[in-house]
Symmetry: C2
Subunit: 320 residues, 2 copies
């Protein structure tokens, strides 16, 4: 498709080769795609690239960025930016856009699903029936915990956290939150620290971005104060939790349960977690619905078109 | 505890012997409990019994009732009355009370949990991670379906159905219902038949009682019109669905998925269901939380006290 007479501006696709890239059809009418997975571009041909589409969890390091001296915009398909060198983008004044709210509904649904699964033991009950154990033991361990009345602490009350709160209010949960700062428009009780929130919660739901400030924001102290009945749901990033400590506390029975869509070192999941009944594991798929994929595809195409037309962008990440 | 000088009125406990009966402590300060599991009462001693507490899924047949000629009240701990001979109770003017709304929140939560589990493939994803398949195949089949926007048809908009609707509205689902008659105070679209509701729904949630009118209310025709992508959630009674037909349609790929807490012949679950990824199975535990158990215990004690004190009863089942 690329030729010297091609007027379509060049967009470099940055992705993990094993990941399928379903956006090519939507982009190629407007852009000349340079996809190193197929095209093997020379380093020289990258010197003039102004726009990169970063698809999926592909790290954008300072080395990636150094190979692209003309880069002006990095269009990222994920919500999280923990694999992007934002300091370098800031220094070079590269615009970064992300998924914005395109995934928020699906991620919030996943968080709520994991919490209710743990409280009501849906996956555990499913295993009990599938294994034939119910038939052998009709009065087996089937007792769960009511959802209503539970004190749910939301860590990070952005798009996703707010949608989680809305859903859980309909179940009669009592919502509180922590966030970089108190949100004046929100009526839920605010706690200044995750530790204080944990001390007043039956469950924590991690809805914040992974940054240097939030790495291991759920540490041993937070999990200990959450306690034997306490539940943690993580749909943010694995690095938000001290995973080794979490596994240790679960093994020792000092934490009630966890529902995880994200892990420290995906797709590696600690073996101990895969054996426990009070653990629900999800293969980092909170955003994986056709509806989310369609929404982010539209956002990405729209942002790249807007960039080359000098028009306003959506979902720009504030870097200052 | 029973003696001729005992002034506590007699209450006969009617239960399946293998089921634990945790209410004895709460009842015995007020009543002389006759529990055939322990007491082996003579048929004669039953002739004067005025009150029976029916605990769990214990059938109350015309034969049970004939042995109790003085029976005036049947206090049932379940919500469903499909194992009670209500015709005979009506004929003999025996008052029947049930669990009323004591279980409604928990059952509604279970229904929503089963629906979201199916749409978002929570249990399937959990199996994928636990089995180690995710590690071997990081890009394996993880695509789910968005909850928001789904058309959910509620069959029976009573206590439970209304709470299901309230929860699913918070997820952005579009609610419609069928019921014996249109409810003037409800704004959701009404369909006069289950078939018509199914024709306009992505998922059906069965929240009605099992009666002669509702037996197999979900038949082949309803399931066929619901179609390949259609989902059925059943937290009512197994007999609401033609189970053999449902299994056949699932095996043939002509029904999208099912989430079941109840079955035709519990604890027997058809083998085919235990093998499918688009099926979530729950061991009839929708009501089994400490909170529900406590609420129904209070209701039962209160109703038996009220009966013997000639005071108003709660959760009386209309039999006319």
């Amino acid at each position: 498709m690329s030729s010297s007479h091609d007027l379509r501006p060049a967009v470099l696709i940055h992705r993990i080769p094993s990941f399928a890239f379903p956006f090519a059809h939507a982009l190629s009418p407007y852009f000349t795609l340079i996809d190193p997975v197929h095209d093997n571009p020379s380093p020289d041909s990258l010197l003039s690239v102004r726009a990169v589409l970063c698809f999926g969890p592909s790290p954008v390091t300072v080395h990636t960025l150094r190979a692209l001296p003309s880069l002006e915009i990095l269009v990222v398909t994920s919500a999280g930016l923990d694999k992007i060198d934002l300091d370098e983008c800031r220094r070079r004044r590269i615009i970064v856009t992300n998924a914005g709210p395109a995934f928020s509904e699906d991620v919030a649904d996943c968080a709520v699903a994991l919490l209710i699964d743990l409280l009501r033991r849906i996956s555990a009950g499913n295993r009990f029936v599938r294994s034939g154990a119910w038939r052998r033991n009709p009065e087996g361990d089937r007792l769960a915990v009511r959802v209503g009345g539970k004190r749910v602490g939301i860590v990070g009350l952005g798009n996703i956290g707010s949608l989680v709160a809305k859903r859980l209010e309909a179940f009669g949960c009592r919502i509180a939150y922590t966030s970089k700062r108190r949100k004046p428009s929100v009526q839920y009780p605010y706690h200044a620290t995750v530790l204080d929130l944990a001390a007043h919660s039956d469950a924590l739901i991690l809805c914040c971005a992974l940054t240097e400030e939030t790495r291991h924001v759920v540490n041993r102290e937070v999990m200990t104060i959450l306690g034997k009945g306490g539940i943690i749901i993580n749909i943010g990033r694995g690095g938000l939790i001290d995973e080794e400590e979490m596994v240790r506390l679960l093994v020792q029975g000092e934490l009630g349960g966890v529902g995880l869509d994200v892990f420290k070192n995906e797709p590696h999941v600690p073996e101990e977690l895969r054996q426990m009944d009070n653990v629900v594991l999800s293969p980092h798929c909170a955003v994986l619905t056709p509806e989310s994929m369609e929404a982010v595809k539209e956002l990405v195409v729209s942002n790249l078109k807007a960039f080359f037309a000098n028009e306003p962008l959506q979902a720009v990440v504030p870097l200052e």
